[in-house]
Amino acid sequence: MNIDSTMLVMIALSVISAATPLIYAAIGELVVEKSGVLNLGIEGMMLAGAVSGFGVGHLSGSSFLGVLAGIIAGMLLAMLFAFLTLNLRTSQVATGLALTIFGIGLSALVGKSLIGIAYAGVPTYAVPFLSDLPVAGPLLFQHNLLVYGSVALVVLVSIFLKYTRAGLILRAVGDSPESAHALGYPVMAVRYIATLFGGACAGLAGCYLSMAYTPSWQEEMTAGRGWIALALVVFATWQPGRLIFGAYLFGGFTILQLHAQAMGINVPSQLMSMLPYIATIVVLVIISRDSGRIRKNAPASIGQAFHPTK
C-alpha cells in the first residue's frame, strides 16, 4: 500500500480533532491546579457540557448558544465543587469523585430524549486564501472555530501565567496560600475563579465532543477523557506548552484504532481501544518517577484546604 500526502493530511486532521477536547479539559485543569485546587470531576463537568451543548444547540439551531450552554453547565458544576471544597472544606478527592458520579447520572437523565438525534455540528471555518494552500491549507486553515480556539486558549493561558501580575498571584496562591493571604491577596476568590475557569473549559471540551467530534449524544460519551486530561496535566509538568504536545500525542493514540484497519493491521478493536489508557499509565510512570521534577513544577499546596483563620 502507499501512503500519499492526502492520506497523511487526513490522519493529521483526525489527530487534531481527537486532541482538541483533551486540550480544553487539560488547560482548564492546569489553571485550577496552579491555584492549589485538585478537581477530579472533569469527566462529570465534560458530560454536563456535552449534553447541554448538544441539547441547546439542537433545540435552538444555534451552535453558538449550544456552546454557551455547555460552558455554563460546566461552570455550574464547578461552582458546586468550589462551594463544597472551599467554603465547607470537604476533601477535594472525594468531592471530585462525587462530581463525576453526579455528572454521569445527571447528563444521562437529562439527555435521555436526545439519544439518536442527528445534528449538523459546528460549522468549519476556512481561513480565506490560506486554506487554498496545498497540504498546509487543509491541515491548518480549514477547521471549526473550536479547534482554533483551543490553540489560542493555550497561548493565552501561557502568557497569563508567565507574564501577568494576575497570573503571578494565581501561582502564589497555589504555592503558598498562607503567604498570599498574609500579603493581602484574596485566596478564596482566586481559587473560586480558577475553579470556575476549569469548569468552563471542561464544559467546552464536552461541547466539542457532542457538537463537533461525533455530533450526537450518548451516555458517558467522554469515555475517560476527563481522567486522561488529568494525566496530561502531570505529563506537561504544569506547563501549557508541553500540554499541547501531550494532547496531540494522546490524540494520536486515540485515532490509531480508526486507521489501523484502513492500513490492513488486523488487531482486535478492543486492544486498539486500550491504547490511550495504557499510554496514559506509561506516560504517568515516566514523568512521575522523576520526583524532583514533579516537586519543582507542581503547585506546592495542591489538594490542601486553606483555612484563612489559622
Binding site: 472525594a94 458520579i101 451516555e219 475517560g224 486500550m274 495504557i278
Partner: protein
Amino acid sequence: MISLQARVEPSKLMGFAAPVIALALTVLAGLILFALLGVPLDKAFYSFFIEPLSSTYELSELGVKAAPLIMIAIALSIGYRANVWNIGAEGQFILGAICGGAVALFFYEIEAWYILPLMVLAGMLGGMLWAAIPALLRTQFNANEILTSLMLTYIAVLLLSLLVNGPLSDPDGYNHAESRMFHAAATLPIILEGTRLHIGAPVALLLVVVVWVLLSRTLLGFALKVNGIAPRAGLYAGFTQKRLIWFSFLFCGAVAGCAGLFEVAGPIGLLLPEISPGYGFTAIIVAFLGRLHPVGIVFAGLVVALSTLGGEAAQINLNLPLAVTGVFQGMLLFFLLATDVLINYRVVWRATGSRA
C-alpha cells in the same frame, strides 16, 4: 452571616448524625427533582421505599445487591483510612470475574467439589494482580494511584469484552458475545430457596468482623489510622507508607476479585461483556457513607442497595431512566461531604461587619 467555628474536639454526636442528615437531605432533594420532572410523588415513594421491601424475594434481592457493595466498600475503607486512593475496584472486580470464570470454563468437563474453591482462588488472585499494578507504580515510580487504577478499569472492561468475543466465548453460541453457562458445580450455593441470595451475603458479614478486628485490635489497624491522620508521625513510628499501600491494594484486589467472581458464579451464571452495574464505583460512596467504619458500611451498603433496587423499580413503574440512581448517589455523596463539616466545625451566625 454564616461562618464556621472550629470545635475543640470532633463532635461524637455529629459523627452519627451527619450521615442521617445527609440521607434526609438526599431524599428531600430527590422529591424536588421528581416534582420538577413531573413524576407523581406517591408512586416514586412507593417504588423507592415500599416495593423493594415488600416481599421475601425483594428483601433477598437487597442482600444480593448489598453483598458486593459491602465487601468492596470494606476493603476500600482500609486504604482510604491511610489516604491510599484506590478507585479502580471496578477493574479488580472484573478481573476477578474473568480469572474465576476462566477456571469454570477451563474445567467445563469436570463437575467436582473443588472447582468452586479453585474459582474463588483464581478470582482473588486476578483481582490482586490488577490491584498490584497501581501499587507497584505508586511505590516504585511515584505514579498517582487514582489515575492508574482508574485507567486499569477501562482496560479491564475492554479485556472482558475481548475475551467473551474470543477465547472465552461459547463455541455453540452463534458468535454471541457471551461464554457458556457455568455448570452446577461451578455456581454458588443458594442460601435461601427460591431466591438468588448466595453465600456472598454471609461472606460479606464475615469480612466485616474480620476487618473490624483488624482495624481495632491489631498494630496494622493502628498504623493505617496514624498514617491517615499524620503521615510523618507514622514514619517516625516505623510504619512505612509503602507497605500500607501494598497491603491496601492487595487486600482490596482480593476482596473485589472475590466479589466479581461471586457475581458471575452467582446471579449471572456466565461471562458477559457487562457484568457490573458499577459496583466498584458505588462502593466508594458506600465506604464514605459508612464513615469508613465496618459497621457503618453494612448500614450504608443496605441503604445504597435499596436506592439501586428503587431505581430499577422506578424504571419499570414510572419509565424513569436508570441514571436516576446515579444522580441520587452523587447527591448523597455531596450531602454527606457537606454535612461532615458539622463534625469538626460549629455553624454559627454572626452579624455582618463584626468579623474577628
